[in-house]
Symmetry: D3
Subunit: 246 residues, 6 copies
């Protein structure tokens, strides 16, 4: 039995507050249990040099943690004068994942920046950020469409992410912080609504692991992500209905 | 009439969620209308060199804004590699204000770091940060007391802050962003529970102002801060009662 | 009696050497007792992006201290790779103060940078910098006028600054370093030739102070600044006469 | 047929020059075709704070590219004043991989730093760095053993890495730069001598990919890495024989 | 007798591998004994602002050392976030030296960046960098000429550099690391093919030295540089013949 | 005839104000014509790690320019976040020069930091800094001796520096800014009271120069430095007499 009393294939309670940030074009506060990440999407008409005059757009992401989002306080990156390697790795991952389901030519020559800021951390912040960042991005595209700036939502598929790990010889889904600290291996998966793979990152934390163990992690992730995407569909549908009603 | 339909001497709706951050020794999410600041207090046994072996403690503060807390997105300071002058000015102000009501010898040789992070900005973030930072600090001290580490709460008085400004020739209390942008002068006041002055910062934004105008701002602030401190007393009392009950 | 044998309302010896720096468009070395600040004004035809094509100008300031201007040597900011929060706070204050008496539309689309560098520090460097920076700026505008580039001096009023503080229960004017270290409260005032307020920064260094104490500080400052502005008028008049004679 | 005329499961020419750097405790210049990476291992008696007084050791890695190792010149990171996110991601990967086969308690309280510097880049620099970094580390441990400082080589297994990708619908092994630019998906695998998985990083560069495509990449990698490890065994055996002979 | 068994006026073995780096427009790996420096020349059509629209070109240089090129490992400058004063001094010297023999108007409005990276250090890295950097630059200009982009090679003379020093009262040529550590004075000379002086840097490492000692160093350098330039002529001639043959 | 009407071998007016900075242990404001450099020496009991517990001392130097010390304003290095290569090169030169005449064992385990800040620049700032820095250092050592902390002044010789250059085919002494801009070659010499060489830096600014031209520069420098050192002796003697009289 897991410390959180969950089954091996059970997600934590997932809660999504769409539109949490009043100024952003798209936003949500997403909860994976005690992990809370605020995701906002900002539409900018200014594009990076490498797509200038291409007619196509770009999506990028930034990630941060509030200093006391963690069990013991982390140094504030702005005060340190630089982002850690971990931060950069995660924000590159989020950006890559979101771009894999975006049709750049359908979004026009503009850029969307997705900010994922961890308000409270209890394991799985990067997977919550991708899952919530997708929703913020979706809302921003819907707004551009409602405003008549683009003719269709450029997202080509749904997208969510989840972590899995091996603890005491068993593969389990959606690790919280205590589990994450004890896992011998730990993997993050990003998968689309149609079940295609966008990213796999599997790492032996202490000792190398067997191929069949990896297969077990992948299987758990495929099922968990299906549940997450079902939830995304639902909250977006509700939002769409309420904005149509308005 | 003000754009927000408030009276000249009327505060915005103030809402305080004590204990918002699960990991911190003290915390609150404070709302001044649409402005939301998350304040956390972290107890650290490690002290800065200048108080080493003095037996006394220290209180310091850091301030930040989430990139899309604002109307248009701001650059992330961690990505820029440095904190702006404005950020440094504000965090120095918060630290100074909190230290003015702390008895360092009563807190033992330890440091408390108060982090104030703006989740959403609509004017008055620094005054919300001081008012909420005081509460986070108070909770952290109460925890140290409950844990038997210190014998009394080292805070010597209550403390809150508010902004005032001159708009269309009239002095008004607790400016929101739209008002702040139109004020010819703008002042921030930090005042204690016993009505003593901790800090006054009054600035002519466009044109220098008259002494009697300044007096009007000070009067508004004194009254507004009384209300804020009454609210602080109340939420702390409720928290104390519920933790005694537990 | 004060350590310097001055009366409570007595300024230190003020000495102004206009035109100290041969390359700058305007400059002075200003002495407030043993405090010496070199102020230079540089006219630049390049303007910051936010006023581009507006037809109007801008005034900005930078502040620095030579490493051994102080009692014990300070680290060189250039070697540390960043300006301290104190430095940024002071240079923002100087720039704001000078802008409050400048008519941007009368100066054309150009920028003036006022550099205030502390050659020797003995308290009151920021107020000496504002008082001297005003003179450097005035000279630079007069030069633009003499050169036929602008038709009138864009400064709309005189401007000076002074510090006051509470020591042993008494309010005193123009603190030197020893007094500054012992003050329980300390305030800086920036006031115009017509007696209007540009900036007030009052801070409880150790313990919060009473409102009537603040009023006493403000009264001292108003009188001290009148004397400083009289001196400014005089040195500028002499300079104007000697440049007309030439 | 691949641009390089190789079969889908064929490695480039692998060449290893053990002991290339005269000052380092272990080193090799490794060639994966035209990709050349210089790997050095440095033994340091000073350890990072988190293992101080633990009696155990640590292995860490740094990665860099010479500015003109690439087709078009890259900015020098030292001149830019920071390492890119890509650089940090790669050096974290190399360090993690090497640590997964190191018995820290057998190496004593010391640290080994493995530097991997790309002399010439033609795709696959990170996998060459891991494969060559393992050899440099092995040599450094052998030297510590020969010098009587440790009693056995703390490496618990062999270790190598390879990239694979999907090009024109086919899975191919060991991508060079031209192939890498055209791959729709790209994966890096780190695997031990006993066939266990240390790290998998699979990324959809353009479009998400199918699970069976991923399986094909993994199969190719397992075979390719067997060949690399066979080569490692051989060069280490030769080195050992020649150093015994000496 | 010198530790290396060389005569006082004897160079170390000099070895030059022209065209070592496959991507660069010009390159060589130059050996001064155990010192190895990789020099590459990159042609860029983008020019620095101060020569924009002048029709003339520019040559600049950058210098770096691999962390374990040295006896004990040096910190990686990219990881430290800045180049040391020594690095900047050396790269400024290399750039200045190469520019002194370049006819900017003959190279068209483009820039050549010469990167000198120390693969292994054993004294004299800056003089090897200048001598090898000249060759890389020459090759890049020859390529521009062969490609019909410029009509003649803009280099106006040959150029090489060597170090000398005073050890045990004797002037010796081309110091290796051990000698360099023991020299009381140490000088670097950059001289052209026609025997003209480009740069002299002579420094008393421990104690000031006599004028006649300096004259002895200069004499040694003049002879040593003649030998180096003879070698440059020869390798460039061979390269030219082989590229004509091709 | 030179623009300044000086003879080829004529120094500018040299003026030395010893003890200019009231807080420093040693200081002078030195004028080489319109060039003014403020030099201060600070005694610190804290030493750099590499001399810890050696019983010997160390001397180091820092250099800076006020932003408007120059004809057109330079960026403030502290605001840019780094020192330029030129600044670092100069401060390394000053430190090396001062150390060459210091007996470290006679100064005890302490460090003296010599700060040289350019108040106004008109060519020759680095040579004025060395000549004035020597005086500040001398005063600081005399103070340590007067205070009974050391038994003799650790300076082993006098030391001064001067620049020379070739303009219109003629070698001239002590270049001002206008001459410096027009020189084809430019050299800085640091020489001791006993005529020994400490540093020579000769650079072809535009075209390489002949050996006999270099000899002419060296001859001018030797004579010019004799005059500077005579002046140093005189001001130090006067200071010593006045401090004995006191």
């Amino acid at each position: 039995m897991r410390p959180s009393q969950r089954q091996a294939d059970q997600l934590r309670d997932i809660k999504i507050e769409l539109g949490y940030a009043k100024h952003a074009e798209g936003s949500c506060l997403i909860h994976f249990g005690e992990t809370k990440v605020l995701c906002t999407a900002t539409v900018e008409e200014k594009v990076p040099p490498f797509i200038k005059d291409s007619g196509a757009g770009w999506v990028t992401a930034e990630y941060g943690m509030l200093p006391r989002s963690t069990h013991t306080r982390m140094s504030r990156e702005a005060a340190q004068g630089k982002q850690t390697g971990r931060t950069q790795e995660i924000q590159r991952l989020i950006g890559r994942a979101l771009r894999s389901v975006t049709d750049f030519s359908a979004m026009g020559e503009r850029q969307i920046k997705v900010d994922c800021d961890v308000i409270q951390a209890d394991g799985g912040t990067r997977t919550a950020a991708i899952t919530g960042g997708y929703l913020a991005l979706h809302m921003a595209f819907q707004k551009l469409k409602r405003d008549g700036i683009i003719s269709k939502n450029p997202l080509t598929d749904f997208l969510a992410a989840i972590s899995c790990g091996i603890i005491n010889g068993e593969a389990v889904l959606d690790l919280d912080y205590m589990e994450d600290s004890n896992a011998i291996a730990d993997a993050n998966f990003v998968i689309t609504g149609s079940g295609k793979i966008v990213e796999i990152q599997a790492t032996a934390e202490q000792t190398p692991f067997e191929r069949w163990e990896f297969e077990a992690l992948l299987k758990l992730a495929e099922d968990g992500i299906k549940t997450l995407i079902e939830l995304q569909r639902q909250v977006l549908k509700e939002a769409e209905e309420s904005s149509s009603a308005a």
